[in-house]
Amino acid sequence: MTEIRYLKAVNTALSDAMDADPSVVLMGEDVGEAGGPFGASRGLLERFGPSRVLDGPISEAALAGAAVGAAMSGLRPVVEIMFMDFTTLVMDAMVNQAAKVRFMFGGQTSVPMVLRTPHGGGLGAGPQHSQCLEAWFAHVPGLKVVCPSDPASAYGLLRAAIADPDPVVFVENKALYAMKGEIADPPAPFAIGRAAIRRSGTDVTIVAYGAAVHTAGTAADRLAERGVSAEVVDLLSLQPWDEATVLASLSRTHRLVIVHEAVEAFGVGAEIAARMAQVGFDELDGPIMRVGAPFMPVPFSKGLEAAYMPSVDAVLQAVDKTLE
């Protein structure tokens, strides 16, 4: 085991994938000479040259659309979109093209591309640089969506996403880039569609993904002090998501709380809650609770943003409610 930062895990996954497969190319704004707006592609231009690390202009729609055409023509492109908020500009490429090509052309071709993009608030970046829009993509048949929570899952899921034959939206979290964590040597890929149980417990299941996994973990620590044993399930993949693991956990604890940083209404949590109400109804001993952001834009002021972000206290309240 070695300890590396989340950002370095992304960087290493890109570099290892490019080493392993000459058809992997990177494109995006400032991914080359500048090493990526956050440093995720540092050193890659020097290693792999300008034909595989393409500095693109500020043209999100064309870069994402080009990734679709390139993926249909023999490349495995990884496109970086600087902030998830800017994915509004790639929606046609992702929703009408990448997601549909395999199906609407009768399985003639797949679209092996990855769209990497960071979401998340807490950094004072304001309403247009903080949003968590992953549920939009998870709603589209044909796309896969993953969201790692630590360096090992960032590495493992990115390798899996690049190797996957279908389009994958790889959601990073800006607030996690500096996080350190253990990673196997050599690091291992993670299977898309598989959740991880981060902490075993018997009284309540807390399902979370991305940075919210850490909020859930802290809440579980506090609950343990009060004698409540919480199981924390890290989804890792949102589309497809690991229904079996969530259901198995619910069957042990009989209580379910779902936590994410994205707006609560119409979110990933709503889908999980609805499915568990259907397939896990007999297991439930309390209401399924959701903890997400309120239905408002991410605010700029520190105080406003702190009030906006789903907190440990909010998770504790939700747990209390379902244990009532």
């Binding site: 393409l54 043209s59 659309g65 609407m104 052309f105 009768g106």
Partner: protein
Amino acid sequence: MRDRELTERRLDEAAEITALLRDLLIVRRAEERLSAMFADGEVPGFIHLSIGQEAVSVGVMRALRVEDTLASTHRGHGHAIAKGMPLEGFFSELLAKNEGLCRGRGGSMHVADMSVGMLGANGIVGAGLSIALGSALAHKTLGRNAVAVAFFGDGALAEGLVHECMNLAALWKLPLLFVCENNGWGEFRPTSQQLAFALGDLASAYRIPHRIVDGNDVVAVAEAAEAVVRSIRKGEGPAVLECMTVRVRGHFEGDAQKYRDQAELDAMTERDPIRVVCERLAACGVNDTDLDGLTREVDAVIEAAVAAARRGTDPDPVAARHDVYTDGAAA
């Protein structure tokens, strides 16, 4: 062309021009057949025909090889057939059969055949430009000596994606040919009411060579396409070929075109691509082209494809659900 000298090979051999005539007739008769079947209620959904514009598809394809790729539009039957999509797979798809090349999931607006580099018609105006851009990038990165072609209409020029794609193609010097089929219309209004610029001016802003041809003259299109494709294949970067043409039918089948002048509609027969190519043949001394005989021959091929398509089966809903992802997991 602005800054490139292009030498054109004249297409003056009767045999070559007759081959083009035959290709034109295949697209024309296939679409006329579709039009009749649509009127009979046999073709589901809605269809956009390229009748009157076939010389663009056939002429450009004359310059392409099987490994060259293209991305098309909502009006893509001609591109698909001329690139080599088999007629049986084509008609089966339009009749929504499991034997269709897209297994009855795409239909008219999504005909595609990867095996001949036809990366798909597209229901989203302008989207094909970025697909072709990416395909050109793949050709270049993988060291193939292939060219990608983006077909689009004049109405698409108002989409912002056109700007992004032209800028990127020029910046990255990609082997990409932009083919604008300028038929003067975008749905129900002349594009003169939709565009404040001319394509040539746009192309010159990106320093991309631009050439205008008579898009109803298949020989002129083929000669121009051959010249630009040759320069693109040599690594000289993208080019724009603007083909001035005429949309004979409505925007879609069933559009009565009440918004068009009778005079304009009458003038179209004068410039019919099949008439124009027969004049070309006459000019090189061939006055005995048996148009009726050739049409009968083409019709027999089309009839066989239609008959085979009609024998096709309905697509299976379960199989369709398992084709959303490559691993076959049910959606």
